[in-house]
Symmetry: C2
Protein backbone atom coordinates (compact mmCIF):
# COMPACT_ATOMS: atom_id res chain seq x y z
CA UNK A 1 0.00 0.00 0.00
CA UNK A 2 1.22 3.47 -0.83
CA UNK A 3 -0.21 6.98 -0.75
CA UNK A 4 0.62 10.29 -2.41
CA UNK A 5 1.65 13.34 -0.40
CA UNK A 6 1.81 16.80 -1.94
CA UNK A 7 3.57 19.74 -0.31
CA UNK A 8 2.10 22.86 -1.88
CA UNK A 9 4.45 25.78 -1.31
CA UNK A 10 4.51 29.35 -2.54
CA UNK A 11 7.46 28.55 -4.87
CA UNK A 12 7.42 24.79 -5.50
CA UNK A 13 5.06 21.85 -5.60
CA UNK A 14 6.67 18.67 -4.24
CA UNK A 15 4.82 15.36 -4.55
CA UNK A 16 5.91 11.98 -3.27
CA UNK A 17 4.81 8.37 -3.18
CA UNK A 18 5.10 7.21 0.41
CA UNK A 19 4.85 3.71 1.86
CA UNK A 20 2.95 2.70 5.00
CA UNK A 21 6.06 3.27 7.17
CA UNK A 22 6.38 6.88 5.99
CA UNK A 23 9.29 6.25 3.60
CA UNK A 24 9.32 8.32 0.40
CA UNK A 25 9.64 5.93 -2.59
CA UNK A 26 9.84 8.57 -5.34
CA UNK A 27 9.21 12.27 -5.86
CA UNK A 28 7.98 14.69 -8.52
CA UNK A 29 8.28 18.47 -8.73
CA UNK A 30 6.71 21.46 -10.46
CA UNK A 31 6.96 25.22 -10.01
CA UNK A 32 3.94 26.68 -8.23
CA UNK A 33 3.81 30.00 -10.16
CA UNK A 34 0.98 31.14 -7.93
CA UNK A 35 0.01 34.08 -10.13
CA UNK A 36 -1.61 31.59 -12.54
CA UNK A 37 -5.28 30.54 -12.31
CA UNK A 38 -5.64 27.92 -9.59
CA UNK A 39 -6.81 25.35 -12.14
CA UNK A 40 -3.33 25.34 -13.68
CA UNK A 41 -1.62 25.02 -10.30
CA UNK A 42 -3.80 22.03 -9.39
CA UNK A 43 -3.15 20.44 -12.80
CA UNK A 44 0.58 20.70 -12.01
CA UNK A 45 0.03 19.24 -8.53
CA UNK A 46 -1.57 16.21 -10.24
CA UNK A 47 1.28 16.16 -12.78
CA UNK A 48 3.92 16.11 -10.04
CA UNK A 49 2.03 13.28 -8.33
CA UNK A 50 1.83 11.29 -11.57
CA UNK A 51 5.57 11.79 -12.12
CA UNK A 52 6.29 10.44 -8.65
CA UNK A 53 4.07 7.39 -9.19
CA UNK A 54 5.76 6.66 -12.50
CA UNK A 55 9.24 6.94 -10.95
CA UNK A 56 8.24 4.71 -8.04
CA UNK A 57 7.51 1.82 -10.39
CA UNK A 58 3.94 1.62 -9.08
CA UNK A 59 0.71 2.50 -10.90
CA UNK A 60 -2.16 4.74 -9.78
CA UNK A 61 -4.03 1.50 -8.98
CA UNK A 62 -1.54 0.87 -6.15
CA UNK A 63 -2.26 4.22 -4.52
CA UNK A 64 -5.03 4.44 -1.92
CA UNK A 65 -5.23 8.17 -1.11
CA UNK A 66 -3.77 11.58 -1.76
CA UNK A 67 -2.95 14.18 0.86
CA UNK A 68 -2.10 17.85 0.49
CA UNK A 69 -0.45 20.27 2.90
CA UNK A 70 -1.54 23.82 2.12
CA UNK A 71 0.02 27.07 3.36
CA UNK A 72 -3.37 28.23 4.55
CA UNK A 73 -6.74 26.93 5.65
CA UNK A 74 -8.28 23.76 4.18
CA UNK A 75 -11.93 23.06 5.02
CA UNK A 76 -12.14 19.31 5.60
CA UNK A 77 -15.92 19.20 5.30
CA UNK A 78 -16.09 20.80 1.85
CA UNK A 79 -12.63 19.97 0.42
CA UNK A 80 -12.19 23.66 -0.33
CA UNK A 81 -9.06 25.73 0.40
CA UNK A 82 -10.76 28.64 2.17
CA UNK A 83 -7.66 30.79 1.85
CA UNK A 84 -3.91 30.70 1.21
CA UNK A 85 -2.41 34.17 1.63
CA UNK A 86 0.86 33.23 -0.17
CA UNK A 87 -0.96 31.88 -3.21
CA UNK A 88 -3.70 34.48 -3.29
CA UNK A 89 -6.20 31.61 -3.07
CA UNK A 90 -9.68 32.14 -1.73
CA UNK A 91 -12.34 29.39 -1.76
CA UNK A 92 -10.47 27.14 -4.20
CA UNK A 93 -12.25 23.77 -4.72
CA UNK A 94 -9.09 21.67 -4.40
CA UNK A 95 -10.85 18.35 -3.91
CA UNK A 96 -13.22 18.71 -6.87
CA UNK A 97 -10.53 20.07 -9.18
CA UNK A 98 -8.01 17.33 -8.29
CA UNK A 99 -10.59 14.64 -9.04
CA UNK A 100 -10.44 15.66 -12.72
CA UNK A 101 -6.95 14.13 -12.77
CA UNK A 102 -6.68 11.65 -9.90
CA UNK A 103 -9.80 10.00 -8.54
CA UNK A 104 -8.70 9.10 -5.03
CA UNK A 105 -9.86 10.15 -1.57
CA UNK A 106 -8.20 13.52 -0.87
CA UNK A 107 -7.16 14.74 2.59
CA UNK A 108 -5.84 18.19 3.31
CA UNK A 109 -4.55 20.23 6.21
CA UNK A 110 -2.42 23.21 7.08
CA UNK A 111 1.25 22.70 6.18
CA UNK A 112 2.57 23.18 9.71
CA UNK A 113 0.05 20.69 11.10
CA UNK A 114 1.08 18.30 8.32
CA UNK A 115 4.78 18.66 9.18
CA UNK A 116 4.04 18.14 12.88
CA UNK A 117 2.05 15.03 12.02
CA UNK A 118 4.90 13.72 9.83
CA UNK A 119 7.27 14.00 12.80
CA UNK A 120 4.70 12.14 14.93
CA UNK A 121 4.33 9.34 12.37
CA UNK A 122 7.87 8.91 11.07
CA UNK A 123 10.10 11.49 12.75
CA UNK A 124 11.34 12.67 16.11
CA UNK A 125 7.96 12.46 17.86
CA UNK A 126 7.15 8.96 16.57
CA UNK A 127 5.26 7.04 19.24
CA UNK A 128 4.70 10.21 21.28
CA UNK A 129 1.01 10.81 21.98
CA UNK A 130 1.03 14.56 22.55
CA UNK A 131 3.44 16.96 20.89
CA UNK A 132 3.61 20.53 19.66
CA UNK A 133 5.56 21.30 16.50
CA UNK A 134 6.78 24.84 15.78
CA UNK A 135 8.23 25.99 12.45
CA UNK A 136 10.49 28.97 12.96
CA UNK A 137 10.20 30.38 9.45
CA UNK A 138 8.69 33.42 7.76
CA UNK A 139 5.89 33.03 10.28
CA UNK A 140 5.52 30.83 13.33
CA UNK A 141 3.70 27.76 12.04
CA UNK A 142 2.46 25.19 14.49
CA UNK A 143 0.95 21.75 14.62
CA UNK A 144 -0.64 20.27 17.72
CA UNK A 145 -0.75 16.49 18.02
CA UNK A 146 -3.05 15.06 20.71
CA UNK A 147 -3.37 11.30 21.12
CA UNK A 148 -1.40 10.83 17.90
CA UNK A 149 -3.83 12.86 15.76
CA UNK A 150 -3.73 16.41 14.41
CA UNK A 151 -5.76 18.58 16.76
CA UNK A 152 -7.86 20.94 14.64
CA UNK A 153 -10.27 22.08 17.33
CA UNK A 154 -14.04 22.21 17.31
CA UNK A 155 -14.23 24.51 14.27
CA UNK A 156 -10.87 23.93 12.58
CA UNK A 157 -9.34 27.06 14.13
CA UNK A 158 -6.88 25.40 16.54
CA UNK A 159 -3.11 25.27 16.28
CA UNK A 160 -2.45 28.90 15.37
CA UNK A 161 0.15 29.40 18.07
CA UNK A 162 1.80 32.17 16.08
CA UNK A 163 -1.19 34.29 17.01
CA UNK A 164 -1.16 33.78 20.75
CA UNK A 165 -1.09 37.28 22.16
CA UNK A 166 2.37 37.56 23.66
CA UNK A 167 3.11 41.25 24.03
CA UNK A 168 -0.22 43.03 24.12
CA UNK A 169 0.09 46.37 22.34
CA UNK A 170 3.39 45.30 20.73
CA UNK A 171 4.53 44.88 17.13
CA UNK A 172 1.77 44.92 14.51
CA UNK A 173 1.10 41.46 13.06
CA UNK A 174 0.05 40.60 9.50
CA UNK A 175 -3.22 39.36 11.07
CA UNK A 176 -4.09 42.89 12.22
CA UNK A 177 -3.52 42.31 15.94
CA UNK A 178 -0.56 43.70 17.91
CA UNK A 179 1.95 41.59 19.80
CA UNK A 180 1.32 38.13 18.32
CA UNK A 181 3.94 35.52 19.31
CA UNK A 182 4.89 35.15 15.64
CA UNK A 183 6.27 38.70 15.54
CA UNK A 184 8.89 37.71 18.16
CA UNK A 185 9.69 34.06 17.47
CA UNK A 186 9.68 33.65 13.66
CA UNK A 187 12.75 34.13 11.44
CA UNK A 188 11.11 37.41 10.45
CA UNK A 189 11.00 38.36 14.12
CA UNK A 190 14.69 37.53 14.56
CA UNK A 191 15.53 39.74 11.57
CA UNK A 192 13.58 42.67 13.05
CA UNK A 193 15.25 42.19 16.43
CA UNK A 194 18.63 41.96 14.66
CA UNK A 195 18.03 45.21 12.80
CA UNK A 196 17.11 46.95 16.03
CA UNK A 197 20.24 45.60 17.73
CA UNK A 198 22.44 46.67 14.79
CA UNK A 199 21.02 50.20 15.05
CA UNK A 200 22.31 50.30 18.65
CA UNK A 201 25.74 49.01 17.55
CA UNK A 202 27.30 51.10 14.76
CA UNK A 203 30.33 48.76 14.77
CA UNK A 204 28.27 45.61 14.16
CA UNK A 205 29.11 43.34 11.25
CA UNK A 206 25.37 43.17 10.60
CA UNK A 207 25.66 46.56 8.83
CA UNK A 208 27.17 44.63 5.89
CA UNK A 209 23.56 43.71 5.18
CA UNK A 210 22.18 47.24 5.23
CA UNK A 211 21.68 47.07 1.46
CA UNK A 212 21.19 43.31 0.99
CA UNK A 213 18.34 41.76 2.86
CA UNK A 214 19.47 40.56 6.30
CA UNK A 215 18.56 36.92 6.99
CA UNK A 216 18.06 35.00 10.21
CA UNK A 217 21.11 32.91 9.24
CA UNK A 218 23.24 36.07 8.91
CA UNK A 219 22.37 37.00 12.48
CA UNK A 220 23.00 33.51 13.87
CA UNK A 221 26.34 33.29 11.99
CA UNK A 222 27.39 36.73 13.28
CA UNK A 223 26.38 35.78 16.84
CA UNK A 224 28.50 32.63 16.63
CA UNK A 225 31.40 34.84 15.44
CA UNK A 226 30.95 37.01 18.56
CA UNK A 227 29.26 40.08 17.03
CA UNK A 228 27.80 41.99 20.01
CA UNK A 229 24.65 43.17 18.21
CA UNK A 230 23.93 39.70 16.86
CA UNK A 231 24.54 38.17 20.29
CA UNK A 232 22.10 40.62 21.86
CA UNK A 233 19.53 39.92 19.15
CA UNK A 234 19.83 36.14 19.42
CA UNK A 235 19.63 36.33 23.21
CA UNK A 236 16.42 38.38 22.95
CA UNK A 237 15.04 35.96 20.34
CA UNK A 238 15.69 32.85 22.44
CA UNK A 239 14.05 34.58 25.42
CA UNK A 240 10.90 35.16 23.35
CA UNK A 241 10.93 31.60 22.00
CA UNK A 242 11.42 30.18 25.51
CA UNK A 243 8.58 32.37 26.82
CA UNK A 244 6.34 31.04 24.03
CA UNK A 245 7.26 27.46 24.91
CA UNK A 246 6.54 28.17 28.59
CA UNK A 247 3.04 29.30 27.55
CA UNK A 248 2.62 26.08 25.54
CA UNK A 249 3.62 24.06 28.62
CA UNK A 250 1.26 26.06 30.87
CA UNK A 251 -1.58 25.40 28.44
CA UNK A 252 -1.13 21.84 27.15
CA UNK A 253 2.00 20.36 28.79
CA UNK A 254 2.91 18.15 25.80
CA UNK A 255 5.35 15.23 25.98
CA UNK A 256 7.55 16.80 23.32
CA UNK A 257 8.10 20.22 21.74
CA UNK A 258 9.59 19.95 18.25
CA UNK A 259 11.38 22.86 16.56
CA UNK A 260 11.59 22.98 12.77
CA UNK A 261 11.94 25.62 10.07
CA UNK A 262 14.86 27.84 9.11
CA UNK A 263 15.95 29.08 12.53
CA UNK A 264 16.01 25.51 13.88
CA UNK A 265 19.01 24.82 11.62
CA UNK A 266 21.05 26.60 14.32
CA UNK A 267 20.75 23.27 16.16
CA UNK A 268 22.35 23.06 19.61
CA UNK A 269 23.20 26.77 19.46
CA UNK A 270 19.43 27.40 19.58
CA UNK A 271 18.43 24.52 21.84
CA UNK A 272 20.85 25.23 24.70
CA UNK A 273 19.61 28.74 25.62
CA UNK A 274 15.98 27.86 24.90
CA UNK A 275 16.04 24.79 27.17
CA UNK A 276 17.80 26.78 29.90
CA UNK A 277 15.33 29.67 29.73
CA UNK A 278 12.29 27.37 29.64
CA UNK A 279 13.56 25.62 32.78
CA UNK A 280 14.04 28.99 34.51
CA UNK A 281 10.72 30.43 33.33
CA UNK A 282 8.23 27.58 33.61
CA UNK A 283 5.42 27.80 36.16
CA UNK A 284 5.74 24.41 37.88
CA UNK A 285 9.45 24.43 38.54
CA UNK A 286 9.42 21.05 40.28
CA UNK A 287 7.60 19.17 37.52
CA UNK A 288 9.42 17.63 34.56
CA UNK A 289 8.81 19.31 31.21
CA UNK A 290 8.38 17.85 27.75
CA UNK A 291 11.73 17.69 26.02
CA UNK A 292 12.53 20.38 23.44
CA UNK A 293 14.04 18.76 20.34
CA UNK A 294 14.85 19.48 16.71
CA UNK A 295 12.63 18.20 13.90
CA UNK A 296 14.13 15.18 12.10
CA UNK A 297 12.51 15.10 8.68
CA UNK A 298 13.44 18.53 7.30
CA UNK A 299 11.78 19.35 4.00
CA UNK A 300 10.50 15.78 3.59
CA UNK A 301 8.02 16.36 6.41
CA UNK A 302 5.62 18.13 4.06
CA UNK A 303 5.35 15.15 1.70
CA UNK A 304 5.40 12.46 4.39
CA UNK A 305 2.81 14.14 6.60
CA UNK A 306 0.50 14.85 3.65
CA UNK A 307 0.73 11.23 2.50
CA UNK A 308 -0.19 10.10 6.02
CA UNK A 309 -3.19 12.43 6.43
CA UNK A 310 -5.58 9.51 5.88
CA UNK A 311 -4.52 8.42 9.39
CA UNK A 312 -4.77 11.88 10.98
CA UNK B 1 -24.36 4.80 44.07
CA UNK B 2 -23.05 8.00 45.62
CA UNK B 3 -19.66 9.64 46.06
CA UNK B 4 -18.20 12.30 48.32
CA UNK B 5 -16.83 15.56 46.96
CA UNK B 6 -14.75 17.91 49.11
CA UNK B 7 -14.03 21.50 48.14
CA UNK B 8 -10.96 22.53 50.13
CA UNK B 9 -10.77 26.33 50.23
CA UNK B 10 -8.53 28.76 52.06
CA UNK B 11 -11.41 29.70 54.41
CA UNK B 12 -13.91 26.81 54.38
CA UNK B 13 -14.09 23.08 53.81
CA UNK B 14 -17.30 22.08 52.02
CA UNK B 15 -18.13 18.39 51.62
CA UNK B 16 -21.10 16.85 49.84
CA UNK B 17 -22.65 13.51 49.03
CA UNK B 18 -23.40 13.50 45.31
CA UNK B 19 -25.43 11.04 43.27
CA UNK B 20 -24.46 9.61 39.86
CA UNK B 21 -26.26 12.47 38.06
CA UNK B 22 -24.20 15.10 39.87
CA UNK B 23 -26.95 16.11 42.33
CA UNK B 24 -25.83 17.10 45.83
CA UNK B 25 -27.82 15.03 48.37
CA UNK B 26 -26.42 16.58 51.56
CA UNK B 27 -23.54 18.78 52.68
CA UNK B 28 -21.22 19.28 55.63
CA UNK B 29 -18.95 22.19 56.51
CA UNK B 30 -15.91 23.03 58.63
CA UNK B 31 -13.58 26.02 58.87
CA UNK B 32 -10.23 25.42 57.17
CA UNK B 33 -8.09 27.43 59.64
CA UNK B 34 -5.06 26.78 57.46
CA UNK B 35 -2.55 27.90 60.04
CA UNK B 36 -3.14 24.57 61.86
CA UNK B 37 -1.08 21.44 61.22
CA UNK B 38 -2.35 19.77 58.04
CA UNK B 39 -3.32 16.66 60.02
CA UNK B 40 -6.03 18.68 61.76
CA UNK B 41 -7.31 20.17 58.50
CA UNK B 42 -7.59 16.72 56.94
CA UNK B 43 -9.35 15.39 60.06
CA UNK B 44 -11.91 18.17 59.59
CA UNK B 45 -12.25 17.35 55.88
CA UNK B 46 -13.16 13.80 56.91
CA UNK B 47 -15.48 15.19 59.58
CA UNK B 48 -17.32 17.37 57.07
CA UNK B 49 -17.65 14.37 54.75
CA UNK B 50 -19.02 12.19 57.59
CA UNK B 51 -21.53 14.93 58.48
CA UNK B 52 -22.74 15.04 54.87
CA UNK B 53 -23.12 11.24 54.70
CA UNK B 54 -25.08 11.25 57.96
CA UNK B 55 -27.40 14.03 56.72
CA UNK B 56 -27.95 12.24 53.40
CA UNK B 57 -29.48 9.22 55.14
CA UNK B 58 -26.83 6.97 53.58
CA UNK B 59 -23.95 5.18 55.30
CA UNK B 60 -20.26 5.10 54.40
CA UNK B 61 -20.94 1.64 52.93
CA UNK B 62 -23.04 3.33 50.21
CA UNK B 63 -20.17 5.59 49.15
CA UNK B 64 -17.79 4.38 46.43
CA UNK B 65 -15.13 7.11 46.28
CA UNK B 66 -14.02 10.45 47.63
CA UNK B 67 -12.75 13.36 45.55
CA UNK B 68 -10.99 16.54 46.62
CA UNK B 69 -10.46 19.81 44.79
CA UNK B 70 -7.34 21.55 46.13
CA UNK B 71 -6.29 25.17 45.57
CA UNK B 72 -2.91 23.99 44.37
CA UNK B 73 -1.17 21.01 42.83
CA UNK B 74 -2.20 17.41 43.60
CA UNK B 75 0.12 14.66 42.40
CA UNK B 76 -2.17 11.88 41.17
CA UNK B 77 0.57 9.25 41.19
CA UNK B 78 1.53 9.70 44.84
CA UNK B 79 -1.69 11.12 46.34
CA UNK B 80 0.35 13.98 47.75
CA UNK B 81 -0.57 17.67 47.61
CA UNK B 82 2.73 18.99 46.27
CA UNK B 83 1.81 22.56 47.17
CA UNK B 84 -1.08 24.85 48.05
CA UNK B 85 0.11 28.45 48.33
CA UNK B 86 -3.08 29.60 50.16
CA UNK B 87 -2.82 26.87 52.79
CA UNK B 88 0.95 26.95 53.13
CA UNK B 89 0.95 23.23 52.26
CA UNK B 90 3.99 21.56 50.80
CA UNK B 91 4.15 17.79 50.16
CA UNK B 92 1.11 16.96 52.30
CA UNK B 93 0.19 13.22 52.09
CA UNK B 94 -3.54 13.85 51.62
CA UNK B 95 -4.39 10.36 50.43
CA UNK B 96 -2.56 8.55 53.23
CA UNK B 97 -3.85 10.88 55.94
CA UNK B 98 -7.47 10.70 54.75
CA UNK B 99 -7.35 6.90 54.84
CA UNK B 100 -7.03 7.10 58.64
CA UNK B 101 -10.66 8.27 58.67
CA UNK B 102 -12.31 7.14 55.44
CA UNK B 103 -10.97 4.11 53.59
CA UNK B 104 -12.17 4.81 50.05
CA UNK B 105 -10.38 5.44 46.74
CA UNK B 106 -9.36 9.11 46.78
CA UNK B 107 -9.12 11.28 43.68
CA UNK B 108 -7.77 14.81 43.66
CA UNK B 109 -7.20 17.66 41.25
CA UNK B 110 -6.77 21.40 41.08
CA UNK B 111 -9.91 23.28 42.12
CA UNK B 112 -10.36 25.13 38.83
CA UNK B 113 -10.03 21.89 36.85
CA UNK B 114 -12.55 20.34 39.24
CA UNK B 115 -15.02 23.20 38.71
CA UNK B 116 -14.57 22.99 34.93
CA UNK B 117 -15.19 19.25 35.09
CA UNK B 118 -18.32 19.79 37.21
CA UNK B 119 -19.72 22.08 34.50
CA UNK B 120 -18.88 19.40 31.90
CA UNK B 121 -20.61 16.65 33.90
CA UNK B 122 -23.63 18.45 35.34
CA UNK B 123 -23.51 22.10 34.29
CA UNK B 124 -23.43 24.38 31.27
CA UNK B 125 -20.92 22.31 29.29
CA UNK B 126 -22.71 19.00 29.89
CA UNK B 127 -22.39 16.81 26.79
CA UNK B 128 -19.73 19.10 25.32
CA UNK B 129 -16.54 17.23 24.49
CA UNK B 130 -14.03 20.10 24.60
CA UNK B 131 -14.36 23.14 26.81
CA UNK B 132 -12.21 25.64 28.66
CA UNK B 133 -13.36 26.93 32.04
CA UNK B 134 -12.00 30.19 33.45
CA UNK B 135 -12.53 31.40 37.03
CA UNK B 136 -12.24 35.16 37.21
CA UNK B 137 -11.32 35.38 40.87
CA UNK B 138 -8.30 36.32 42.98
CA UNK B 139 -6.31 34.62 40.24
CA UNK B 140 -7.28 33.31 36.82
CA UNK B 141 -8.02 29.65 37.43
CA UNK B 142 -8.64 27.38 34.48
CA UNK B 143 -9.76 23.89 33.64
CA UNK B 144 -9.33 22.30 30.23
CA UNK B 145 -11.72 19.52 29.26
CA UNK B 146 -10.77 17.44 26.22
CA UNK B 147 -12.99 14.55 25.13
CA UNK B 148 -14.97 14.95 28.31
CA UNK B 149 -11.97 14.44 30.63
CA UNK B 150 -9.78 16.86 32.59
CA UNK B 151 -6.66 17.52 30.53
CA UNK B 152 -3.68 17.50 32.90
CA UNK B 153 -0.95 17.19 30.29
CA UNK B 154 1.96 14.81 30.07
CA UNK B 155 3.42 15.82 33.45
CA UNK B 156 0.40 17.32 35.23
CA UNK B 157 1.41 20.89 34.37
CA UNK B 158 -1.36 21.72 31.87
CA UNK B 159 -4.28 24.10 32.35
CA UNK B 160 -2.42 27.00 33.95
CA UNK B 161 -3.87 29.56 31.57
CA UNK B 162 -3.40 32.33 34.12
CA UNK B 163 0.30 32.06 33.39
CA UNK B 164 0.18 32.37 29.62
CA UNK B 165 2.54 35.23 28.86
CA UNK B 166 0.22 37.97 27.67
CA UNK B 167 2.14 41.22 28.01
CA UNK B 168 5.81 40.33 28.01
CA UNK B 169 7.65 42.68 30.36
CA UNK B 170 4.37 43.77 31.96
CA UNK B 171 3.01 43.60 35.51
CA UNK B 172 4.92 41.34 37.90
CA UNK B 173 3.05 38.13 38.69
CA UNK B 174 3.03 36.17 41.95
CA UNK B 175 4.77 33.39 39.98
CA UNK B 176 7.81 35.58 39.40
CA UNK B 177 7.24 36.21 35.68
CA UNK B 178 6.08 39.51 34.20
CA UNK B 179 2.93 39.96 32.13
CA UNK B 180 1.03 36.75 32.93
CA UNK B 181 -2.57 36.74 31.68
CA UNK B 182 -3.78 36.45 35.29
CA UNK B 183 -2.47 39.95 36.10
CA UNK B 184 -4.91 41.41 33.54
CA UNK B 185 -7.98 39.14 33.63
CA UNK B 186 -8.48 38.18 37.29
CA UNK B 187 -10.61 40.15 39.76
CA UNK B 188 -7.29 41.30 41.21
CA UNK B 189 -6.33 42.57 37.76
CA UNK B 190 -9.61 44.46 37.43
CA UNK B 191 -8.98 46.12 40.81
CA UNK B 192 -5.48 47.23 39.75
CA UNK B 193 -6.84 48.58 36.46
CA UNK B 194 -9.63 50.33 38.37
CA UNK B 195 -7.16 51.98 40.75
CA UNK B 196 -5.11 53.21 37.79
CA UNK B 197 -8.23 54.59 36.11
CA UNK B 198 -9.35 56.29 39.33
CA UNK B 199 -5.96 57.98 39.59
CA UNK B 200 -6.62 59.53 36.16
CA UNK B 201 -10.11 60.66 37.25
CA UNK B 202 -10.08 62.72 40.48
CA UNK B 203 -13.89 63.02 40.29
CA UNK B 204 -14.48 59.26 40.16
CA UNK B 205 -16.80 57.64 42.69
CA UNK B 206 -14.15 54.94 43.03
CA UNK B 207 -12.24 57.27 45.40
CA UNK B 208 -14.83 56.34 48.04
CA UNK B 209 -12.82 53.15 48.34
CA UNK B 210 -9.44 54.84 48.80
CA UNK B 211 -9.41 53.72 52.41
CA UNK B 212 -11.55 50.56 52.21
CA UNK B 213 -10.33 47.88 49.89
CA UNK B 214 -11.75 48.38 46.40
CA UNK B 215 -13.43 45.25 45.01
CA UNK B 216 -14.11 44.09 41.47
CA UNK B 217 -17.83 44.39 42.26
CA UNK B 218 -17.36 48.06 43.30
CA UNK B 219 -15.85 48.78 39.89
CA UNK B 220 -18.53 46.90 37.96
CA UNK B 221 -21.31 48.61 39.97
CA UNK B 222 -19.73 52.05 39.38
CA UNK B 223 -19.37 51.31 35.66
CA UNK B 224 -23.04 50.37 35.45
CA UNK B 225 -23.82 53.69 37.20
CA UNK B 226 -21.85 55.52 34.49
CA UNK B 227 -18.67 56.40 36.42
CA UNK B 228 -16.11 57.34 33.74
CA UNK B 229 -13.11 55.80 35.49
CA UNK B 230 -14.95 52.56 36.18
CA UNK B 231 -16.18 52.44 32.57
CA UNK B 232 -12.62 52.89 31.31
CA UNK B 233 -11.35 50.21 33.67
CA UNK B 234 -14.05 47.71 32.76
CA UNK B 235 -13.52 48.39 29.06
CA UNK B 236 -9.79 47.72 29.45
CA UNK B 237 -10.52 44.58 31.50
CA UNK B 238 -12.93 43.11 28.93
CA UNK B 239 -10.36 43.81 26.20
CA UNK B 240 -7.76 41.79 28.13
CA UNK B 241 -10.22 38.97 28.82
CA UNK B 242 -11.29 38.88 25.16
CA UNK B 243 -7.64 38.83 24.07
CA UNK B 244 -7.02 35.90 26.41
CA UNK B 245 -10.01 34.04 24.98
CA UNK B 246 -8.76 34.74 21.45
CA UNK B 247 -5.47 33.06 22.43
CA UNK B 248 -7.41 30.08 23.81
CA UNK B 249 -9.27 29.81 20.50
CA UNK B 250 -6.04 30.11 18.47
CA UNK B 251 -4.52 27.33 20.57
CA UNK B 252 -7.30 24.80 21.23
CA UNK B 253 -10.50 26.06 19.56
CA UNK B 254 -12.84 24.52 22.16
CA UNK B 255 -16.58 24.04 21.65
CA UNK B 256 -17.38 26.17 24.69
CA UNK B 257 -15.63 28.74 26.87
CA UNK B 258 -17.16 28.92 30.35
CA UNK B 259 -16.69 31.92 32.64
CA UNK B 260 -17.02 31.48 36.40
CA UNK B 261 -15.74 33.16 39.54
CA UNK B 262 -16.51 36.55 41.08
CA UNK B 263 -16.28 38.78 37.99
CA UNK B 264 -18.59 36.44 36.04
CA UNK B 265 -21.44 37.52 38.35
CA UNK B 266 -21.63 40.65 36.15
CA UNK B 267 -23.47 38.34 33.73
CA UNK B 268 -24.56 39.85 30.42
CA UNK B 269 -22.77 43.09 31.28
CA UNK B 270 -19.52 41.10 31.03
CA UNK B 271 -20.53 38.73 28.23
CA UNK B 272 -21.67 41.34 25.71
CA UNK B 273 -18.36 43.25 25.32
CA UNK B 274 -16.27 40.08 25.65
CA UNK B 275 -18.18 38.29 22.88
CA UNK B 276 -18.01 41.38 20.65
CA UNK B 277 -14.26 41.83 21.18
CA UNK B 278 -13.52 38.13 20.65
CA UNK B 279 -15.41 38.24 17.36
CA UNK B 280 -13.43 41.32 16.26
CA UNK B 281 -10.09 39.97 17.45
CA UNK B 282 -10.07 36.31 16.50
CA UNK B 283 -7.66 35.05 13.86
CA UNK B 284 -10.02 33.09 11.59
CA UNK B 285 -12.75 35.70 11.20
CA UNK B 286 -14.83 33.51 8.89
CA UNK B 287 -14.89 30.44 11.15
CA UNK B 288 -17.46 30.00 13.90
CA UNK B 289 -16.13 30.21 17.46
CA UNK B 290 -17.01 28.25 20.56
CA UNK B 291 -19.74 30.05 22.47
CA UNK B 292 -18.73 32.08 25.54
CA UNK B 293 -21.13 31.34 28.39
CA UNK B 294 -21.52 31.75 32.14
CA UNK B 295 -20.89 28.87 34.52
CA UNK B 296 -24.11 27.34 35.85
CA UNK B 297 -23.19 25.60 39.09
CA UNK B 298 -21.71 28.48 41.11
CA UNK B 299 -20.15 27.41 44.39
CA UNK B 300 -21.58 23.89 44.09
CA UNK B 301 -19.16 23.17 41.24
CA UNK B 302 -16.35 22.46 43.70
CA UNK B 303 -18.27 19.70 45.49
CA UNK B 304 -19.90 18.22 42.37
CA UNK B 305 -16.69 18.15 40.31
CA UNK B 306 -14.70 16.62 43.18
CA UNK B 307 -17.33 13.93 43.69
CA UNK B 308 -17.16 13.12 39.96
CA UNK B 309 -13.35 12.90 39.77
CA UNK B 310 -13.54 9.10 39.61
CA UNK B 311 -14.81 9.64 36.07
CA UNK B 312 -12.24 12.27 35.09
Amino acid sequence: MATIGIDLGGTNIAAGVVDAQGKILAQGYRRTLPERPYEEVIADMAGAAEDAVKKSGLTMGDITSIGVGVPGYFDKKTGVVAFCPNLGWHDVPLCGEMRRYIDLPLYGDNDASVAGFAEAVAGVSQGVKTSVFLTLGTGLGSGIIIDGKIWSGAHGAAGELGHLMYRQGGVLCTCGARGCLERYTSATGLIRIGQEAAARHPESSLHRFDKDPLSAKNIIDAAQMGDAAALEAFDEYTTHLANGIVSIISFLDPELIVLGGGVSRAGEYLLEPVRRKVQAGKFFKMLPTGEIVLAALGNDAGIIGAAMLHRA
